[in-house]
Structure formats: structure tokens, C-alpha cells
């Protein structure tokens, strides 16, 4: 029913060339470039469609709240492996997927897109299509489902999504070691190269934090091997990093996400005082609080073989994501055109003109 309404609004917009702003839980309207266009509410297309714990697959309508999914999985001692942040109660599965968000576990378990198995979408012509499926392995046709992850609603409106899920950890333990940020990079990469069951690593200005997960005996023994002090409130710490509720994130300045090869030495911005850092993903994701001009941050990230996103704050009408190469941008335009020939779905939300 709601699906039909969504489809009709897209069909009508396609006919008239009306730009649409897709709105799910509206918990992440601050992300990406400024939204424009007529609102396309999708909130009512919600609910879990199927969940078979022994298949390790859940299929839900896109506007299903992340919390609803987490509760359903929790009941069967399972979880979303990519540990997504919700950034608000109203966060939905579709919005999370559209943003491609993953939490602290990402480098060790995989990213949001890694766990997408299939989806139903409506493209910019109002056509309902089904890609992928509900099985772990499926190489029939191009992988449109994973393409949807992180595409910010610019290629299609997500209707239903199937994700691979995994069992919960049995035990977890967080350890802490004193270290500067520069030292932390070396320590984290060294640990990641061992066979210890690390599932999260982060560093602030004075400490490095490690999370171990597994069976009780395995976590105990690994903790001894790894060394460091037991950090009592690990659960809160990782939640604070995931949900950006730590004091670091409350600073007024814009928040940048810098994605780098995990071993790139710290600091990457040696010439600036206007830079505070929190390092996650074992060195691969570096949060930066800074009022530096966007161009300077993009250039710095590129020099270090990575990329930057103006995650929160700053000029949302300017460029938010690292510039694409000419070849990449040409492909992006053509792909956008292949899904949304009139450019009506979340136009400009990712890049200007896309």
C-alpha cells in the first residue's frame, strides 16, 4: 500500500521532472550535501518481512527502525555484524544503508555493504525491481544491491533489504594502554596483524583501546597475551565512539571523517593547530575536529592515499565528499543516468550535479 504511494509519487515526479527528497526516519538529514526537492516520505514502509536465524538472513522494509531490527536479532542472540551507528532513535535500515554507515567493528567484521544480500528498489522512473536475494552466495546479474549502499538515495528508493547477520559475541573485554596518537598507529597495526580476536581499536590523545570478543576462555587468554589494563566500561566507550556521544564530538567545529590506510603516520596535518583527533578502525578512520578550509582537508587526505568527508557541520552547500577523478565522475554521471535519467532522486545530495 505504502509502496504503491511511493511508486506513484516517483512516477509522477519522473513525468514532471520534479526533484524529490527521500525522507525515512529523518535522523540523518544533516549528512551529505543540502537536501532539495519535494519531500518523499517513506517512513510507513516499515516492518520485518522475514527472519530465519538459522539462515543468518533478515529481510525488512527499508523504514524499519534499526532498534526494531536490533531487538529482533538480539532475541535470537544475533546482530548486524557491521555494528551500524544510529545517530538517533528514529534511524532506519534504509537510511543506514543509503549512508553506508558502519561502526567500530567494521575493519574486522566488514562494512555495511559487505552484508547486503539483496534489495528491492524503485528507480527514478518508478520501476520496482528486485536484485540479489536472501542467500549468502549469489553471482547472478550485476551486484546492484551493494551499489545501493552508500549511494545516498541518488539511484533508487530502497523498499526492502536483505542482510546477512551473525551470532552475538559470547564475551567481550576492553583493554587500555597509555600512548600518544602517533604511537597508537603503530600499536594498533601491530595488534591487527596478530591472530588475537580483536574486534575494535581506537585511540584518543592519551590512550589506545582494544576490544576482544569470543568465547570466555579465549578472551581471557588473549587479554593476557595482549597486555594493558582492563577498561571497565567498554560497552559505553564503544557506543560513545559509534554514536558520536563522547565529549570529543561535542566540540563546535565541523567534524571530518578521514579515511586512510591504517598505517599512515599521525599526524597527517602537521602544520595546523586547528585540529583535534580521535582515531578509530585501528587507524583506518580518523575523526578530525577542525575549522580548516575543505579544500585543504581534501588535499591532505588525498596526499595520504585516502579521502575525507565533511561529516557534520560546515558548509553543506559546498563539497562534502572528496572530489572524484574525472574518469570516476564520468562513470558516476552515467550510472546515475542509468537509474534516474531525469535526476529527480536526492539530486546533489552526494555531489553537485549528481
Amino acid at each position: 500500500m505504502h509502496e504503491l504511494l511511493i511508486q506513484q509519487q516517483i512516477e509522477a515526479a519522473h513525468r514532471t521532472g520534479t526533484k524529490l527528497n527521500i525522507i525515512g526516519g529523518d535522523s540523518k538529514s544533516w549528512y551529505g550535501r543540502e537536501a532539495t526537492g519535494e519531500p518523499l516520505p517513506v517512513t510507513r514502509h516499515a516492518g520485518i518481512i522475514s527472519y530465519q536465524p538459522t539462515e543468518l538472513v533478515i529481510t525488512a522494509r527499508a523504514a524499519t527502525r534499526l532498534s526494531v531490527i536490533a531487538d529482533a536479532l538480539d532475541e535470537c542472540k544475533q546482530r548486524l555484524p557491521f555494528d551500524p551507528p544510529s545517530f538517533g532513535e528514529a534511524a532506519t535500515l534504509g537510511g543506514t544503508l543509503a549512508c553506508g554507515f558502519s561502526g567500530p567493528r567494521r575493519p574486522y567484521a566488514g562494512s555495511c555493504r559487505d552484508f547486503v544480500l539483496g534489495c528491492r528498489i524503485i528507480n527514478g522512473k518508478g520501476e520496482v525491481m528486485h536484485f540479489g536475494g536472501e542467500v549468502m552466495k549469489n553471482v547472478a546479474g550485476f551486484d546492484v544491491s551493494r551499489l545501493m549502499a552508500g549511494s545516498l538515495g541518488t539511484l533508487g528508493v530502497l523498499l526492502d533489504v536483505s542482510l546477512k547477520v551473525l551470532p552475538h559475541r559470547q564475551t567481550e573485554q576492553t583493554l587500555v594502554v597509555k600512548a600518544s596518537l602517533a604511537e597508537a598507529i603503530g600499536i594498533m597495526n601491530h595488534r591487527a596483524g596478530t591472530d588475537l580476536p580483536v574486534t575494535a581499536m581506537a585511540a584518543d590523545a592519551s590512550h589506545v583501546y582494544f576490544r576482544l570478543c569470543g568465547t570466555h576462555s579465549s578472551v581471557q587468554k588473549s587479554a593476557l597475551l595482549m597486555g594493558g589494563d582492563i577498561y571497565a566500561d567498554g560497552l559505553q566507550l564503544w557506543k560513545g565512539i559509534r554514536e558520536h556521544s563522547l565529549p570529543f564530538f561535542l566540540d563546535e567545529r565541523p567534524l571530518w571523517r578521514i579515511s586512510l590506510p591504517s598505517d599512515v603516520p599521525h599526524p597527517v596535518l602537521s602544520d595546523s593547530d586547528d585540529a583535534d583527533w580521535l582515531i578509530g578502525w585501528g587507524g583506518a578512520q580518523r575523526w578530525l575536529k577542525s575549522g580548516l578550509p575543505a579544500g585543504q582537508v581534501f588535499a591532505m587526505a588525498e596526499q595520504a592515499a585516502g579521502h575525507a568527508t565533511l561529516f557534520r557541520g560546515g558548509d553543506r552547500a559546498g563539497e562534502i565528499f572528496s572530489p572524484l577523478s574525472e574518469g570516476q565522475m564520468r562513470l558516476h554521471r552515467r550510472i546515475k543516468h542509468a537509474f534516474d535519467p531525469k535526476g529527480i532522486l536526492n539530486p546533489g545530495r552526494m555531489y553537485e550535479g549528481l
Partner: protein, 487 residues
């Protein structure tokens, strides 16, 4: 006409490439006429063996100008005809791109050329305590470029994922020779996830010329448990029970009676030949966690009614238990002159009913079937035994195979889990996708390759083909492609 075109192409290609890198005689082209599925054959117009990215770019630009199709080829071990030449096409072999460019121990990645063999990566980083996780059965021979093109799996997918989960970046060439970098050692790049889209695109979207792979620390320990069952349904339930118990095995494999007896006779792995099914469950990780989980696995199997449960006590035993499974295909190959390897996926809950149906059809078609599965991820490999020299038997086998794939789709699965569509499953694609999806696939193809010169005619069937074959994807009683005429 064709002759002139060929001579013209040769004369233009030769100055671009090293001596001996343009193959044109029939005896030189013969080895390239098929890939791992030899029932489909086609001689290419020419084969070129470039050595540098610049040479590949020059070949592509020339082929674009002359509107000559290009089929990329790695080791040619694919099982769906993905790298089988198409008529009048240039086969572009990446065999000379066989260098590991760099290994980064610190961030656990390696940059390799596409013609590097899958296993060669793990061998090269072995002394660093690292490895590359995806392990398709052809890993001794198959190349990483082909793995990306097919999104290859292996026996460890359930825990470690497919190729798409283990590749960080690619350099690809568009048909016009433009070099495009996707991803890299930094995670989750900006823009659309074209890195994911390239995986499993079967050479239709671009030419892969460099791959950055993720390397993992080798687990401290791996052990395998073999459980034998007197009933295949019990074995299927045991697989579900393992997952329900919160265990994520590194590998979870199953074989049926015919596959067991063939494998045991071939590899002497110690499988009980009177069993109707065996399940192999491998656990890896730290020693402590492996011991904990092995105990749980043994309990689960016993509760599920296994008639025999045996855990490997050392590496030699582990390898021996795997030897049978790994030799299953050649072992089954000794039972009949030919076998046809299917590759469908189904939800695990459908396993028993799908197997019963296959057994019934096996009798009806008069063709024995041995079943080997990646049970953990519902990926079945029914091996249909036949004799290609008996008139009509190949056709009967293909018909049987297609019925199996149709059943996979009806059961909520897919026509291919890891072998790809290629040329082999084009018709079955019409069962899985409707006209809108197929049209969208072509729109994606056109976004990358507007002249449709890269591996044309593979992976995605035209609407016309689906309609002509009368192979309908009937959903809710609605006929697909109503816009097309029926004959």
C-alpha cells in the same frame, strides 16, 4: 571481409605489443577456445598478450575504433564460459600481468597484477603470518583478476566472505582506455561503490589491470569435525543446528552418499562409506576458542543423530579429512565419462526438499547425481553424471540441470552461487530476473561500455532471448515481457 579485418587488426596490433604477443594461427588459438566448461567452444579472431597497462590501453582503443569485441581472460578456469571467446572477438589475455607489485605488512594489504594466481598471494605472504582468504577450488591455477570478475567463493566464505569482501581496490580500464581507480588501501571510499559493482561483472564493465587485496593474520589453529549421518535430512538439520548454536564455522561442507563413496575410493580420507551424508565443520581461531567451539560442534552433531563424529587431533588428520572433500570432483569424475557441475544456491531450510526432488529427477532422467555442498551458505554443487558420446545425453543433462536451477530460484535461491552466468546460464537468468531488472542491467552495461564491446552476449540475456526461449519468470501469475511477441 572477416579475413581482411583480421589481417588489418594483426598489422595494427603487432607494433603495439612485444614479439609473439599476437596469436592468430588456428593451432595457436585452439587453447583459448573454451574455459573450464569445455562443452562451450568458440575460436577467437585473435589472442593478444599485452604486458603493460599502456599496451592494454592501446589494444582497447584500437578495438573500440574498429568496433571489435574484447574478451578478457585470466587462467581460463571459469566454469560458466565467462572467458570463452565470442565470435569475431579479440581475446585479451592477462597472463603476463603476473607480478606481485607490493606487500604491505603494516596495513596488511598487497597490490598485485590481475594475472597473479590466487594461491600465489598466500604463498608470498606466508612468512609474514598472513594469507589471502578466498580459496576457490581452482586456487592453484585461477588468477585474482578472474576471481574479481566472477566474485569467486570457496569453502571458507561463510566466515571470511567472497572475493568482494577481500578486495580493497582495483585499477580498471574502460573500453576507451581510460584508467579508473576504485577503492584502495583506505576503507569505504567516496561515491558509488563501483568496487562492489565490478565484482562478478564477468568482464562486461571494464578490464581489471591491478588489484589491492586484504590480507588476514593466519589463525593460530584450525580443526575439523567430520560427522556421518544415516539420513541426509538429519545432516541438513545438523547444519542448521550448528548455526542456531551461535557457531560460525570457517567451513561447513556436506556430501551425499554417492559423493562420499567416490571421494573415499579416490582419497582414502576415512569417510564411512555406508553413510548417507557427511558434514565437515571446520573451526579456526585462537587455540582456546577452537577448543571451546569444537566441543560445541561435537555436541550439536551428536544431538542431531550423527552415527559417527570425529574431530581432527592434528594438522595431518585435518588435511586428511579435507582431502576427500577437496578431491570430490575428480573422484566423481571417475564414475562416468563426463559430469556436469551445477552451482545453485538455496536457503538452508530448503535443502532436504530440494535434494528429494533432485533424487526423483535423477531417476526420471536416468542420470545419476552426486551432491557436494558448501552447506553453510546454501551453495549446492550437484554433479550430474553422463556420457557425452551417447547421442542426446548431453542435451538431457542440460535439461536436467536447468530444472535444478529453476528449483533453486523457486526455493528462494539463485541460479549461481559462485560460478557465474557466463554463456552457460544465460537462459536460466530469464527465470531469476524480469524484464525491468534485465533492462537495468543493460543500462549499467551501457554506462560503462556504450558500444557493448566488452565480453558481449555474456552474463545478461537480452529480453528477446528470454522471450524466444519461452523461459518465463512467472511471478504471481503475471507473465514477464508482455511487450514482446511470442512465437
Amino acid at each position: 571481409m572477416q579475413r581482411m579485418k583480421k589481417e588489418d587488426l594483426i598489422s595494427r596490433l603487432k607494433p603495439m605489443l612485444s614479439q609473439g604477443s599476437v596469436l592468430s594461427g588456428e593451432e595457436e588459438l585452439k587453447p583459448y577456445e573454451c574455459d573450464g566448461i569445455s562443452v562451450y567452444r568458440q575460436l577467437p579472431l585473435l589472442v593478444v598478450l599485452p604486458e603493460t597497462i599502456e599496451q592494454v590501453q592501446a589494444v582497447l582503443r584500437l578495438c573500440l575504433k574498429l568496433k571489435v569485441a574484447v574478451v578478457a581472460r585470466g587462467a581460463g578456469t571459469g566454469l560458466s564460459g565467462g572467458s570463452m571467446p565470442v565470435e569475431g572477438a579479440v581475446v585479451l589475455s592477462l597472463a603476463k600481468f603476473n607480478r606481485i607489485i607490493s606487500i604491505n605488512k603494516d596495513n596488511r594489504s598487497a597490490v598485485v597484477q590481475p594475472g597473479v594466481r590466487n594461491l600465489a598471494i598466500s604463498e608470498a605472504v606466508d612468512d609474514l603470518g598472513l594469507y589471502y582468504a578466498p580459496d576457490p577450488s581452482s586456487q592453484i591455477a585461477c588468477t585474482i583478476g578472474g576471481n574479481v570478475a566472477e566474485n569467486s567463493g570457496g569453502v571458507h566464505c561463510l566466515k571470511y566472505g567472497l572475493t568482494v569482501h577481500n578486495v580493497l581496490g582495483l585499477k580498471m580500464l574502460a573500453m576507451d582506455g581510460a584508467l579508473i581507480e576504485l577503492g584502495g588501501a583506505a576503507l569505504d571510499g567516496p561515491g558509488y561503490d563501483l568496487l562492489a559493482l565490478m565484482h562478478g561483472s564477468e568482464g562486461l564493465l571494464g578490464l581489471i589491470v591491478e588489484v589491492t587485496v586484504k590480507l588476514l593474520p593466519k589463525p593460530e589453529l584450525a580443526r575439523v569435525v567430520m560427522a556421518a549421518f544415516d539420513d541426509i535430512e538429519k545432516a541438513g538439520q545438523a547444519v542448521a543446528d550448528i548455526i542456531a548454536a551461535g557457531i560460525v564455522p570457517a567451513g561447513l561442507e556436506m556430501m551425499d552418499h554417492l559423493a562420499i563413496t567416490a571421494a573415499e575410493a579416490f582419497a582414502h580420507a576415512g569417510y564411512p562409506c555406508d553413510a548417507q551424508a557427511i558434514v565437515l565443520c571446520e573451526i579456526d581461531g585462537t587455540q582456546a576458542s577452537v577448543e571451546d567451539f569444537i566441543t560445541s560442534v561435537e555436541q550439536v552433531f551428536q544431538c542431531a543423530g550423527a552415527v559417527q563424529v570425529r574431530a581432527s587431533e592434528n594438522e595431518a588428520e585435518r588435511l586428511k579429512l579435507w582431502a576427500g572433500r577437496k578431491a570430490a570432483f575428480p573422484a566423481v569424475g571417475r564414475l562416468a565419462p563426463d559430469y556436469y557441475c551445477m552451482d545453485g544456491t538455496i536457503p538452508k531450510s530448503a535443502l532436504a526438499s530440494v535434494l528429494r526432488q533432485i533424487a526423483q529427477w535423477s531417476v526420471e532422467f536416468g542420470l545419476p547425481v552426486a551432491n557436494v555442498f558448501h552447506a553453510g551458505d546454501g551453495n549446492m554443487h550437484p554433479l550430474i553424471l553422463y556420457d557425452a558420446n551417447k547421442p542426446g545425453e548431453l542435451e538431457r543433462t542440460e535439461a536436467f540441470g536447468e530444472k535444478i536451477l529453476e528449483l533453486c530460484v523457486k526455493s528462494g535461491g539463485s541460479i549461481t552461487g559462485e560460478h557465474g552466468v557466463g554463456i552457460e546460464k544465460l537462459d536460466s537468468m530469464c527465470l531469476q530476473f524480469g524484464a525491468l531488472e534485465l533492462t537495468q542491467f543493460f543500462a549499467i552495461k551501457d554506462a560503462f561500455d556504450p558500444d557493448r564491446l566488452l565480453n558481449p552476449g555474456k552474463a545478461v540475456p537480452t529480453l528477446h532471448r528470454c522471450a524466444e526461449l519461452g523461459r518465463m519468470h512467472v511471478h504471481d501469475g503475471v507473465l514477464p515481457h508482455p511487450e514482446l511477441e511470442r512465437f
